[in-house]
Amino acid sequence: MTALIEVRDLVKEFPIRGEMFTRRGAGTVRAVGGVSFDVMEGETFGLVGESGCGKSTTARLMTRLLDPTSGTINFRGTDIASLSRKQLKPVRREMQMIFQDPYSSLNPRKTVGSIIAEPFLIHEVEKDEKARKTRVQSLMETVGLNPEHYNRLPHEFSGGQRQRIGIARAIALEPKLIVADEPVSALDVSIQAQVLNLLRDLQRDMGLTLVFIAHDLSVVRYMCDRVAVMYAGEIVELGESDQLYTAPTHEYTKQLLAAVPGQSTH
């Protein structure tokens, strides 16, 4: 297996704002403190940790929605850590994100059809309007939406369906890599499994590489081949799912696993 993305010594520091009108740049907070890992082609790689551990920042650095302070991100042979916006455009076709909140991540004034068609317009593929509509409707079908709902607005859909819209948009350009940041944590329990299974099926059928970020350890275990545990901006343990969950070595991983509720039954 070859690595699709190689992250080395990735650091992100955010400036701390001083008190209003007084001290500027009161220092920096190190959200990601030098993480290194490879994501193999075709695997599902999990990033797990509690709030503030830097997992979402890492996701946004990998997809270059944020600029790293230092470090390299080697994506299919190119270091994308320092590319300009313009240089990044072709790379963006290859990597897409799915976000946690299916309410704020969709433009409420656009129809579902135009939301899913947007990647085609931005990257100037499928220029013919009719062909584009056909593509969009087949994408809707793929993610389990009714293609007839092409002209509806996001508010007409439930949370789970909205997340499907976000997924359709993410897979539109057939990217190599999808980074999903807490894609089911805003969904109701009975809906979560629908979306998890959809992502698993897409991953298998499209040969996608998936980076799956979540705070729920059982969900990560269900989805991922390998898992990295983050704490305070660093990866404290990284390993095969089976091994990490049955024989964790780091004290923090052990604590996390012990804290999962519901282990007293069954």
Partner: protein, 340 residues
């Protein structure tokens, strides 16, 4: 033993511009002194509304409330607001999901804790302060004598929830209603808070109603579990029975759609198809029937009532299937047959 809290045929309907929302549609349950009842359901199942109604918090010109709520021999539904105020925060205390919005940001936590006692009891400021320090220590706030003069923003989420629990317990309530108390917290903090609630319950003998969407959480703390769907209780059993021999297709769906740490990794989740119904226009018959793979023509026409699985049993199920059918279907699911 007389139950501490007895809810019978409680209905809470809200009149809105879109129609009548049947948020709670005839539920009954009871809680014994010192016992923990877990109420599990998804958003919109009525789990929070039913508990808020117990506290009189859903009273409004736009709401219709019927049924009975008996607490410690008193009828709470017909109690005046004045009487209810004496009960709230005194005999019954409540903690909510978001500890930041439940605390006043402007006042030191000590002042807020003391207010909880002084509202209900004739005690001096010094006594109230001592009590506040004592309770903060009990819930595991380090250096309570110093921290009592801190503001809410100086605490982390987990610590704030501890403060809320301390506040809830200031007057030794007989019943604590905890509405998603750990949902906003990280998993390690959640484990600490659940442990704390359990410990306090054992030490103080408080009865607890734990409302959550998370079966794992009730598995850890509850003695009995009620599963709610579309404003009704669809299954009620002691914890062991609910996990080992569940009888309602919705409970099966929940159990089968949640990933667990102890199942094989290639074990595929079976989602519940569709989504919860509108509470304004509920499906005819059983409210779960459009999503139920075991639905029969009867479940589309007959609205099932909550009945014991066997005469005298405490295991209650609202489903039109017979107990034999349900038992054999569950056996098939456990055995790996998937009739779905």
């Amino acid at each position: 033993m007389a139950p501490l809290l007895e809810v019978a045929d409680l209905k809470v309907h809200f009149r809105t511009d879109d129609g009548v929302v049947q948020a709670v549609d005839g539920i009954s349950y009871s809680v014994q002194p010192g016992q923990t009842l877990g109420i599990v359901g998804e958003s919109g199942s009525g789990k929070s509304v039913s508990s808020m109604t117990v506290m009189g918090l859903t009273r409004s010109p736009k709401s219709d409330i019927s049924g009975t709520v008996t607490f410690d021999g008193r009828d709470l539904l017909s109690a005046s607001n004045e009487e209810l105020r004496k009960v709230r925060g005194n005999d019954i205390a409540m903690i909510f999901q978001d500890p930041l919005s439940s605390l006043h940001p402007f006042y030191k936590i000590g002042k807020q804790l003391m207010e909880a006692v002084r509202t209900h009891r004739d005690v001096s400021k010094a006594q109230a302060r001592d009590r506040a320090v004592e309770m903060l220590g009990l819930v595991g706030i380090p250096e309570p004598r110093r921290r009592i003069d801190s503001y809410p923003h100086e605490f982390s989420g987990g610590m704030r929830q501890r403060v809320m629990i301390a506040m809830a317990l200031m007057n030794d309530p007989k019943l604590l209603i905890a509405d998603e108390p750990t949902t906003a917290l990280d998993v390690t903090v959640q484990a600490q808070i659940l442990k704390l609630i359990k410990k306090l319950q054992t030490e103080l003998g408080t009865a607890v109603v734990m409302i959550t969407h998370d079966l794992g959480v009730v598995a850890d703390v509850a003695d009995e579990i009620a599963v709610m769907y579309a404003g009704r209780i669809v299954e009620h059993a002691d914890k062991r029975t609910l996990f080992d021999a569940p009888r309602h297709p919705y409970t099966w769906g929940l159990l089968r759609s949640i990933p667990r740490l102890d199942t094989a990794r290639d074990h595929v989740l079976v989602p519940i198809p569709g989504r919860p119904p509108s509470l304004i226009t509920k499906p005819s018959g059983c409210a779960f029937n459009p999503r139920c793979v075991y639905a029969t023509p009867e479940s589309r026409t007959t609205d099932p009532v909550l009945l014991p699985t066997a005469p005298g049993s405490g295991h209650l199920v609202a489903c039109t299937l017979s107990e034999e059918q349900r038992a054999s279907t569950w056996k098939g699911i456990v055995g790996g047959e998937d009739p779905a």
